[in-house]
């Protein structure tokens, strides 16, 4: 009874779908989160009778074959990289990217990770760090005597120091863009790593052609749309039930078969 196995692939697929949706809903309030989408593909087809197979010695052929599909699989889990909405926080170390690009973060192991979550803060040494304490790259150190810092749209960080009229330039924030940002590997903690699929990062200053602009005092919210996710959840749940129904029906058929005698 192949239909049991076919329906099982359908249930597995819908289960994965629900998992992806639940992760989206769980991250509804995660800064810079990009929602994911499960994408499915049909499995191989078994050709029980090939189209065009000969049906007689007179040269007649079957116009249509019989192909039985054997179910579904998850083709990929795509990341929807649409811009999330920008929320004003008025915190001077909160940064949002409006447009393309990722902040660069130096990981403890020396590699570079990428993030859209700009909820930075100064650590004990005055370095701008993520909420996990990883410094941004290139490093920006805020002097202790700084009264306030200002970040321009193109990433220049300046500080007003006690007793000085002219602001002092602290550094330049650079952002990285990828050919295929959906191909980045999520690392947790809002961080992403470069992969072969994402392509190598193209680093530049914000607002240069093809890059987004920085907004100080804003955060990019998650791009999860609650209504969309809940309706997707309902659809996935019903699809799961329908596949379960196929299993019940196939089971009944098998039962009938065994009860014949």
């Amino acid at each position: 009874m192949r239909s049991l196995a076919i329906a099982a692939t359908g249930m597995q697929a819908q289960q994965l779908n629900v998992e992806v949706i639940s992760n989206n809903i769980a991250n509804m309030n995660t800064t810079g989160f990009k929602r994911q989408r499960a994408q499915f593909q049909d499995l191989l087809y078994q050709n029980l009778e090939r189209p065009g197979a000969s049906t007689s010695s007179a040269g007649t052929t079957a116009p249509m074959g019989i192909q039985i599909g054997i179910g579904v699989k998850a083709g990929s889990i795509g990341r929807v990289t649409q811009q999330g909405s920008l929320e004003r926080t008025d915190n001077t170390t909160d940064l949002a990217i409006s447009g393309r690009g990722y902040f660069q973060v130096s990981m403890p192991d020396g590699t570079t990770a990428y993030t859209r979550a700009g909820n930075f803060a100064a650590d004990a040494d005055g370095r701008l760090v993520t909420s996990e304490g990883y410094p941004i790259e290139p490093a920006i150190t805020v002097p202790t005597e700084a009264l306030s810092i200002a970040v321009s749209r193109d990433g220049v960080v300046e500080a007003t120091l006690q007793g000085q009229v002219e602001p002092q330039q602290l550094g330049q924030i650079e952002i990285a863009a990828f050919v295929n940002p959906a191909g980045l590997e999520a690392q947790g903690d809002n961080l992403f790593l470069e992969t072969a699929a994402s392509g190598s990062p193209n680093v530049s200053t914000p607002t240069s052609p093809g890059f987004g602009a920085l907004l100080q005092g804003f955060l990019e919210t998650s791009n999860v749309n609650a209504v969309e996710e809940i309706s997707a959840l309902i659809v996935a749940q019903r699809a799961y039930e329908m596949n379960a129904k196929v299993i019940t029906a196939s089971d009944e058929m098998l039962q009938t078969a065994t009860q014949v005698r």
Partner: protein, 242 residues
């Protein structure tokens, strides 16, 4: 020898295949661009089930082919610039191992070289049969209703969207891909929608009622086998008594 059992068993075999087809339809209820299928059955006219020359011959049922419902699936808007849906009869052209393959699943993305690829990583071809490549650092492409790709207002190519005279006669090869089986391509007269995807055209209610129907028909076929057997048993008993 009466062959009521054989008739019922053949019916059950066909019903099982119908069940498999319906199960595959339901398993693919969330697959982009999926087209529902149904098994075609007919009375086998060539091979009567018994040789006696009766006015109403008893004949076997057999499965002759697969009917594909090529109707449009629902188009849902996603807003992603590389999601493309086809409205109307047509397929995107994809580079396969041996020649082009076709798909209606337009959930495309870019690879590290800026090449437009499908979910499985196969290159999407343009109207000239070459892979569609974008400048990795350039602006996001705009795709027009006729498949024309333009970047910042300048047309850079056209998606290879083709139609077939008999799309139901194509062969599915898995991974949402179809093979043309040597059919010639025809002019595409539908529309391309950017930022949208075509869902599966499986009607779940219809499939579920079919599943119930198949499972009941299977039961009644089993009853025929049982009744045939009972009849035979009683015959042996009666005749044995005499």
């Amino acid at each position: 020898m009466d062959n009521v059992q054989l008739l019922a068993v053949q019916t059950q075999r066909v019903l099982q295949r119908r069940m498999e087809t319906a199960a595959n339809n339901l398993a693919n209820v969330s697959t982009f661009g999926f087209k529902a299928e149904g098994l075609l059955t007919e009375v086998d006219a060539r091979r009567p089930a018994r040789s006696a020359n009766l006015p109403n011959d008893i004949r076997f049922v057999r499965d002759v082919g697969l009917a594909r419902d090529m109707s449009q699936g629902p188009i849902t808007h996603t807003g992603e610039p590389l999601d493309v849906a086809i409205e109307g009869n047509g397929f995107f052209t994809v580079q396969g191992k041996d020649g082009p393959l076709y798909t209606r699943d337009g959930a495309f993305s870019l690879d590290d070289a800026g090449q437009l690829i499908t979910q499985s990583g196969d290159a999407v071809l343009n109207s000239g049969g070459a892979p569609v490549v974008f400048d990795p650092q350039g602006e996001r492409p705009q795709i027009g209703a006729d498949g024309a790709i333009s970047i910042a207002g300048a047309e850079v190519g056209r998606l290879g969207v083709v139609a077939f005279a008999d799309p139901a006669g194509m062969e599915k090869v898995g991974d949402n891909l179809w093979s043309s089986k040597g059919q010639a391509t025809a002019e595409f007269d539908g529309q391309i929608v950017q930022g949208a995807l075509e869902g599966s055209n499986v009607n779940p209610v219809l499939q579920l009622t079919q599943i119930i129907e198949i499972s009941r028909a299977y039961e009644s076929a089993a009853r025929i086998v049982k009744n045939g057997d009972d009849l035979r048993q009683r015959t042996i008993e009666r005749l044995g008594r005499a």
